[in-house]
């Protein structure tokens, strides 16, 4: 969020944190920062593993296999619905994401099934559980984005960036100002699902070939596209330098075990939160921030909920850590 405060202030009266570099007056460009956070570390990682030959399985399309798969999937409607509901619910919670949804859904599928012996050996119920939940997360993640203007994951953060660039401010007012747009977003998610499914049926064989493109060709081409993306928004080479710099820093952080998505969320949410905070202070004409945010019932409830969810996350992590320790201890014993 501090990165987002670099450059001109929202009131447009002062420049902040330029650290003596006049070219930083314009601040950091969102697209460049997002490319730096999400694309560059992936390319560096790709290059790091370029010497190991990836195992690419051959695609064998047997006649009627797709229909058989669809029939098998539809043979488990309850599992499909349960996993979709779990995925949607987890998708709504900011910062949790797909991996948690797939694990929880798989766990539930195992718990609800009478015959548990086949799980972990290619049982279709396990595949249905994890895949349905993983896909349902995408729709769920759109709820806080469109409804509250809060991107809860990396992809929704990028979507939020795209909305802002198009002059749209996601949040409750979007429903009032442009309800057609909100419903078109919903329908586009459904349409995207159908198109992806059809595309996967038709082009699966071709897609497997992309994995065979040597990294020595793929990596520089991705960097080239990143440079184009970072430069094109403001025509500044400084943005490209920042993109690569941020990418290298995020790669190092990810190697230490830190997740890069919160940095992206901070950069996106910072420019939204600051003007909103200044507006609230100006409208309320209160003498201090405490009066505005803690003495008003709505904001006080939201703050309590925020602290509560953070405390819950810490408590859950501690509990998981303890359980893991006990498991390791038992294994050694």
């Amino acid at each position: 969020m501090l990165l987002a405060t670099i450059g001109m202030s929202p009131t447009g009266t002062v420049t902040r944190y330029t650290f003596g570099f006049p070219m930083m007056r314009g601040g950091l460009e969102l697209v460049g920062v997002l490319i730096g956070i999400f694309a560059i570390p992936q390319v560096i990682d790709m290059v790091g593993g370029s010497r190991t030959k990836p195992e690419i399985s051959r695609f064998k399309n047997r006649r009627g296999v797709n229909l058989r798969v669809i029939r098998e999937l539809l043979a488990h409607p309850i599992g499909l619905l349960r996993s979709s509901a779990i995925g949607t619910a987890i998708g709504i919670v900011p910062g949790v994401g797909g991996p948690v949804a797939t694990l929880v859904s798989y766990n539930e599928a195992v718990r609800w099934s009478k015959d548990k012996s086949k799980f972990g050996k290619g049982d279709i119920r396990g595949v249905v559980a994890s895949e349905a939940a993983g896909n349902a997360v995408i729709g769920g993640a759109l709820v806080p984005l469109v409804g509250l203007g809060i991107p809860g994951s990396g992809p929704t953060a990028v979507m939020m960036g795209a909305f802002l660039m198009l002059g749209l401010q996601p949040g409750p007012f979007l429903f009032q100002r442009d309800p057609t747009l909100v419903y078109s977003i919903g329908w586009s998610v459904i349409a995207a699902g159908v198109v992806t499914f059809l595309l996967a049926l038709v082009a699966a064989k071709t897609f497997t070939r992309i994995a065979a493109v040597p990294i020595s060709v793929l990596a520089p081409l991705i960097v080239f596209l990143c440079v184009v993306g970072a430069f094109a928004t403001r025509s500044l080479m400084m943005d490209v330098t920042f993109t690569v710099g941020i990418g290298v820093a995020v790669y190092y952080l990810s190697k230490l075990g830190f997740h890069p998505a919160p940095i992206g969320l901070g950069v996106i949410l910072g420019p939204i939160i600051e003007p909103a905070m200044l507006q609230s202070v100006a409208i309320s004409r209160a003498s201090s921030i405490v009066d505005v945010f803690l003495m008003r019932p709505v904001s006080a409830v939201l703050i309590v909920l925020t602290i509560g969810s953070a405390a819950w996350a810490v408590a859950t992590a501690r509990k998981d850590g303890r359980a893991e320790k006990t498991e390791t201890h038992d294994d050694k014993g």
């Binding site: 969020m1 501090l2 405060t5 202030s9 929202p10 009131t11 009266t13 002062v14 902040r16 944190y17 650290f19 560096i44 290059v47 790091g48 593993g49 370029s50 010497r51 030959k53 040597p214 990294i215 020595s216 060709v217 990596a219 520089p220 081409l221 960097v223 080239f224 440079v227 184009v228 430069f231 094109a232 025509s235 080479m237 490209v240 330098t241 690569v244 290298v248 190697k255 230490l256 075990g257 830190f258 910072g270 939160i273 600051e274 905070m277 200044l278 202070v281 921030i289």
Partner: protein, 170 residues
């Protein structure tokens, strides 16, 4: 009887680089960033500095809490210098060549340097460096960059760095 070792914030791995507590590392990073931003903040225009000062102070406070927690209980540790081996060398070469690419893009010409960059990279990281592969790389790099040139400059009119001395702004 062996005496139980007291947990420490840092330790040296048997296999190499030092390991450090994640809490200590996060705490130090947050405290340093918070202090840096607070140091560069001004108190003159309250409205313009309210938010960054608040965020920087929060970062500092959380950083100090994490440092305190790491002293009390170091918790999970990570290696400060991840062992990368051969891939570390590959990544360093990749980053140096990429830095050169960005540095030379404007003075030499973006499209020419881009083609050269793709060509050099495909040779450096090739599984087998043969004349045949060099030929394929040259064709692929020039061909792909030419396609992107037409797509971005002629069709989408995306403003990209233009060379001052080469024809067509290459």
């Amino acid at each position: 009887m062996r005496k139980r070792q007291k947990p420490t914030m840092t330790r040296v791995r048997r296999s190499g680089g030092p390991e450090v507590s994640v809490d200590l590392l996060s705490g130090l990073a947050l405290a340093v960033v918070g202090a840096l931003f607070l140091g560069y903040s001004e108190r003159q225009w309250v409205e313009d500095w309210m938010f960054p000062i608040g965020a920087a102070s929060a970062a500092m406070v959380i950083g100090i809490v994490l440092i305190g927690r790491s002293i009390w209980n170091p918790g999970r540790r990570v290696a400060l210098l991840p062992r990368l081996g051969r891939s570390g060398l590959d990544m360093s070469v990749f980053l140096v060549v990429s830095a050169l690419y960005i540095f030379l893009a404007r003075p030499v010409g973006f499209w020419v340097v881009s083609a050269a960059y793709v060509f050099v990279m495909s040779l450096v990281f090739a599984a087998k460096r043969t004349w045949r592969w060099a030929g394929i790389s040259a064709v692929v790099s020039i061909g792909v960059i030419a396609v992107f040139y037409v797509l971005m400059v002629k069709i989408f009119y995306i403003p990209l760095p233009r060379s001052r001395w080469l024809p067509f702004g290459f």
